[in-house]
């Protein structure tokens, strides 16, 4: 005996249930994590800290360190508020001059 056709149950999202938050992500404010130059932190130390915090290879960490040294600052990351805050906390715990600035 042929089985009656079975239809897949359909789940309809209720009101207020978000299926896609991509548009919200685009609207969320982002911040630049910036490291500023100072005359006291050793260049090798700055490189070490970048490698430690961001998990970068030495070459990338040195590139940003040189940018700090020669241009006065380097943008290390562009992140949402929470992650940017996390990076600034870590960088400042190593005594580097780091801030988060709203990305335009």
């Amino acid at each position: 005996m042929p089985m009656p056709p079975v239809t897949e149950p359909m789940t309809v999202p209720g009101p207020g249930v978000r299926q896609d938050t991509r548009s919200d992500d685009r609207l969320a404010p982002t911040y630049y994590v910036i490291c500023w130059n100072d005359p006291i932190n050793l260049m090798t130390y700055v490189t070490h800290v970048f490698m430690k915090i961001f998990g970068w290879e030495r070459q990338k960490a040195e590139k940003h360190m040189m940018e700090v040294h020669e241009k006065g600052k380097s943008v290390l990351a562009r992140e949402g508020a929470e992650k940017a805050e996390f990076y600034v906390h870590r960088l400042q715990s190593y005594k580097l001059q780091a801030t988060m600035e709203p990305a335009q």
Binding site: P39, L42, H48, Q92, S93, M100
Partner: protein, 152 residues
């Protein structure tokens, strides 16, 4: 100061007696200054709450480093080897040591008025600032060696 051994579990350094004494002395000086508040942003004026959290976290971190500092100069970390001392650090201990040395260096530099060129001549300084100048240079000496002696 020489790196004798580097493994996954730690580092062993050979220090001459003057270096062993100086390293202990610097770490004992930490923290050189009272905690001072930091800025989280140069342009975002609406970040008061964030700045408060940052400063709470930094103050707590400093307290934690104070405890670690005592541990880093425990006498059993130093072992005599002829006239020298063998000094052992775990990877985490080395990381704390770098933070402590750099904190001492940066805070001494601040006490000296944040000069653009930190290579100051002690003879040009008033007597009350000489200690900070020596400490800043000594901390830099060890910081440089701990970083430079690491094998990739």
């Amino acid at each position: 100061m020489k790196l004798v051994k580097q493994t996954k579990i730690g580092f062993q350094y050979r220090l001459i007696p003057e270096e062993a004494y100086s390293l202990r002395f610097i770490v004992q000086q930490f923290p050189v200054t009272e905690f001072s508040a930091a800025k989280i942003s140069k342009t975002d004026l609406a970040s008061v709450e964030r700045e408060k959290l940052l400063n709470e976290a930094l103050a707590a971190h400093r307290e934690e480093l104070k405890l670690r500092a005592r541990n880093l100069i425990r006498s059993d970390r130093f072992r005599p080897s002829g006239k020298d001392q063998l000094y052992h650090l775990s990877p985490e201990g080395r990381e704390s040591m770098l933070q402590i040395l750099n904190d001492v260096r940066v805070e001494c530099w601040r006490m000296l008025g944040e000069p653009d060129n930190p290579d100051l001549n002690v003879f040009d300084l008033p007597p009350e600032k000489v200690k900070h100048c020596h400490l800043m240079h000594l901390a830099g000496y060890f910081e440089h060696h701990f970083l430079d002696l690491e094998k990739p």
